[in-house]
Amino acid sequence: MLSRRNPQLNQHGELVHLLSIEGLPRAVIHQILDTAGTFLSVNDREVKKVPLLRGKSVFNLFFENSTRTRTTFEIAAKRLSADVINLDIAKSSASKGESLLDTIANLSAMHADMFVVRHSESGAPYLIAQHCAPHVHVVNAGDGRHAHPTQGLLDMYTIRHYKQDFTKLTVAIVGDIVHSRVARSDIHALTTLGVPEVRAVGPKTLVPGDLKEMGVRVCHDMAEGIRGADVIIMLRLQNERMSGAMLPSAGEFFKNYGLTQEKLALAKPDAIVMHPGPINRGVEIDSSVADGKQSVILPQVTFGIAVRMAVMSTIAGNNA
């Protein structure tokens, strides 16, 4: 039986779906990060595979395109020995008019054990979690502007890896925050883990003032936003929104909010630079910073596989 308060947890408080970081207890987050540490070391073995999901079928349902996220979920599931089926729904049944729940019912009849769902509509993974059979688990791989919890968790893994203690950190999230499900997941995770100062940095059009209610300090000035920061999370400026009224131009954005070596010098000398990818060089981040010694963008990708293994094996072992 699912908990009424939080549909991701069962009545014992164990994680059975991962839908959002919002409402996850701190202990559950730490447990996933600890488990991810175990899986990271699997890469050092001669056999880079563990049998926890042997005989289980993981369906990657991507209603919205994402090569990178889908690939890391696929690698994670395969390293857990699951059978992985990738469905590019954008090109198949949904475009023929099948409803989301009919798609799920059909795939369940094919004995799916886990759905990894990306959807442009916020809440789609919740709907699936509410309607699937009790033994089926759902992972949200990004829904609308709402949440991208595995990205949030891999960001936390990265921060913990380099900075250890969350309770003394200043973390600046820079860029297009209003459209970013990554930012939302990161903010929930950072505040749950006790980070004393989380800053949202960007122009007024992209950083909503009501973020203050989430315990975030809003900065429209880049220098103020990254000064003294331990961690800088750059977000992708979504090119598709560039033509609208949100921003004058990419060049203008880079001038004010693009992360260059000069601006990075305002942060702590040992600050790390993160980015969920794909990066737009010269739009939100300068090449010399993206490739520089403070950048941990590529380790994030490696950690992402271990974190997704941790999430999938944790929920698969807990019963609704």
């Binding site: 164990e14 447990q31 600890d34 488990t35 540490g37 175990t38 070391s41 699997v42 073995r45 001669e46 056999v47 595979k49 563990v50 049998p51 926890l52 094996s313 944790t314 072992g317 807990n318």
Partner: protein, 167 residues
């Protein structure tokens, strides 16, 4: 009240002798987390073996994953040496069904192909569910299936046994 008295320190002294008899050139100790890892740590010193012993956990190969989920806080396998071609001596505190040993052997082979694997334990409590036998056990006892037996280590490093009544 338990009438069972197991002197873990006395049994450990026997284990030192027993494990010494199992060692060959190229042997390496690997302790099964957590009790076995404590034993291996102390054996490594008392047997004057070079380097650190290995630590191994059954967490990723357990056969009860579907029922009990991922065991959390089960430590992490750390093998600070190549296992290829080595004579591995697995150390555990209590041998019971043999399922942990089976899982640990699978885990071990994910790192390479040892020349041989043997098992030495402090206590063999019977109740085997798999064809696994230790090469050495310091004690053999019969214990009701409901009772749980595990090794404890105090701050000074001394061993004792915990016996709990199960459900």
């Amino acid at each position: 009240m338990s009438t069972l008295h197991l002197d873990a320190e006395a049994l450990y002294c026997d284990l030192v002798v027993g494990v010494r008899g199992l060692l060959q050139a190229n042997s390496a100790l690997v302790g099964i987390w957590s009790g076995g890892a404590w034993l291996a740590e102390r054996l490594q010193q008392d047997l004057k073996l070079d380097g650190e012993p290995g630590v191994i956990t059954s967490a990723l190969h357990r056969d009860d994953f579907d029922k009990r989920g991922l065991s959390t806080g089960a430590g992490q396998t750390k093998l600070p040496f190549e296992i290829e071609g080595r004579h591995i001596v697995l150390i555990d505190d209590v041998l019971y069904t043999g399922r942990t040993t089976r899982a640990v052997i699978n885990e071990l082979f994910d790192f390479g192909r040892p020349a041989s694997v043997t098992l030495a334990v402090l206590v063999d409590r019977g109740g085997r569910e798999l064809p696994i036998q230790p090469a050495y056990s310091a004690a053999r006892i019969a214990l009701d299936a409901k009772r749980r037996l595990s090794l404890a280590r105090d701050d000074s490093g001394r061993f004792s046994f915990n016996i709990e009544e199960g459900d």
